[in-house]
Symmetry: C2
Subunit: 335 residues, 2 copies
């Protein structure tokens, strides 16, 4: 019913159509639309009207082909509903926007098998990738075909990739030291449960505990959710009833532990001290507020974007020792 004067229906409206309709050339249309100079006021208006009338929208592909400016990076996140990844994503978005880059976000729905498929799709759609990946590096390499990529929160073995390392060693040490100073000697940990090898955080905990002459063996696995944390705490206390303080793999688990402790009638921090890992903003909302070995998620995202930018432009990439965010103990009410 609209006054589409063109005879054929489904073809895309191009700059030619607008030009013909306004009685000018392509170039003049381009000038009008892009606010260029060499064009008369009345002509410009006529072109603009014609464009609006025809419902013309420039093709981003054609434009991108000729002007090499727009850069787009892909951000791959296991689960956007997980507050930790949300914070990282938000900060990555922030730095990308500051550079005028576009970010297309992919959520792998926590299924590692989605990673490769995502990578395949992403590969032909973005200039570089930043994100969390759990699969093997050579497998990643096979699917990226030489695309700049920055891994977050993971060690890299191959020179092929950059990665942002998370150094929580000192922070975890400080956490254990703090608990010891408060008189705790029976300190447990809730670790990640569905990963084959023990986590780095577990290793840090073990080292810190040993350094204080504490048995590092009081560990239980926990699913990566609040409910998982609750269940994990029950399991831990069942196996080691003597535990009076607990360090957790991350804040989500800690929050679940906090809630479970209350249900078990153990006051926090009096009967049970809890320290998490990540330093989520969310932790501050808890009662008592969660103590945590906090890392600067803002810096995490920003660093990753910075590095992928360097890889992209060919500038010299940051050396591994700079690609590191240090976690430090942030005390609140829970310990």
């Amino acid at each position: 019913m609209a006054s589409s004067s063109g005879p054929d229906s489904s073809r895309r409206v191009t700059i030619h159509d607008v030009a013909r309709s306004a009685g000018v050339s392509r170039q003049t249309v381009s000038r009008a639309l892009n606010g260029k100079d060499e064009i008369e006021r009345s002509t410009k208006q006529r072109v603009l009207d014609a464009a609006r009338e025809l419902g013309y929208r420039p093709s981003r592909f054609a434009r991108g082909l000729v002007r090499q400016d727009t850069t787009t990076i892909g951000l791959v996140i296991p689960d956007l509903r997980n507050p930790f990844f949300t914070e990282v994503a938000a900060s990555a978005l922030e730095s990308a926007r500051a550079r005028g880059w576009h970010v297309v976000v992919y959520d792998t729905a926590d299924r590692p098998e989605e990673e490769l498929g995502t990578l395949q799709v992403i590969g032909s759609q973005v200039d570089g990738v930043v994100g969390y990946f759990s699969c093997a590096e050579d497998e990643l390499d096979r699917y990226t075909r030489g695309m700049p990529m920055v891994l977050i929160g993971r060690e890299h073995r191959m020179a092929r990739f950059s990665s942002i390392r998370i150094d929580g060693e000192a922070g975890v040490h400080a956490a254990v030291a703090h608990l010891v100073a408060r008189g705790h000697t029976m300190i447990g940990m809730l670790d990640h449960d569905n990963r084959a090898e023990p986590s780095l955080r577990r290793e840090w905990f073990t080292a810190a505990a040993l350094a204080h002459g504490i048995d590092p063996g009081r560990v239980a696995g926990a699913g990566q959710s609040a409910d998982g944390g609750g269940a994990g705490l029950r399991a831990l206390l069942a196996a080691h009833p003597e535990v009076t303080a607990v360090f957790t793999f991350n804040d989500i688990v800690a929050i679940g532990a906090l809630r479970e402790a209350r249900r078990l009638g153990r006051a926090v921090p009096a009967d049970l001290a809890v320290i998490g890992f990540d330093g989520l903003q969310l932790g501050a909302l808890m009662e008592p507020p969660l103590s945590s070995v906090a890392l600067d998620t803002r810096r995490l995202g920003a660093l990753a974007v910075e590095q992928v930018g360097r890889l992209l432009t060919g500038a010299d990439p940051l050396p591994p020792e700079d690609l590191e965010v240090r976690a430090e103990l942030r005390l609140a009410g829970s310990a």
Copy 2:
């Protein structure tokens, strides 16, 4: 130092370069890279090797220009760190992925003045837009130039746009009814504070209160954060000490109120009942768990994507009465 045999340095590696290097034609290279059929095994391998050697990556623009398949939509969010928007974003991502679409996310950092700039940038980069916008419709229209757009959580006046309406009338009514049934008669509300007109949710509350013969005037403003909710509750109780139950603009504010209540020594729900709005997953982590007039954020995002898809493909768009998400009371411990 890499064996880049080409003499000139900065030019992009194209399919021609690979073809020349492998001693074949463009088309053969294309076949090898896209896994097409009519190519010999050994030739394919030779091409693949050459491509890898040269660091060739196809141009997404050139490819997109000729194959009209990839569609990308823009998702505009005020603040990704806000759990509510995160949930909506996650669900939008989910539906988009199911359709094989790409989503580029823009965070306007809660500054309405960023909206138009974002829209301008976005306009030439995506096929359609879904998101939250606070500025006037004719202003939006001016910047979108006819791009399909779906507004979330907002009424639309112009026929130009689609929007997903949030119907909380029945849910809020149920919330008030529940409080009344529990014996509450002095029910307050913490409303959005930095918006000119009173919110829709406030209107629903007023109507529901009046329907139960309750004074709807016990209202205080609250900033959109947990701290804002705490401050709001203090203000509300200062002005109306008789209040025994409170309904809040959203869950974030409710959570702040919950925390503040505990600090004030008022037990929840015994001394003070709290009901929020949104139904965030986060609410379940609180102690006591938050009651809320919950809306299905998953459906919210999915609907928006569905509709923008229809606008995009020219299929008949959903009628306004289907573009609606009903909020319903979900009771937990806090009321």
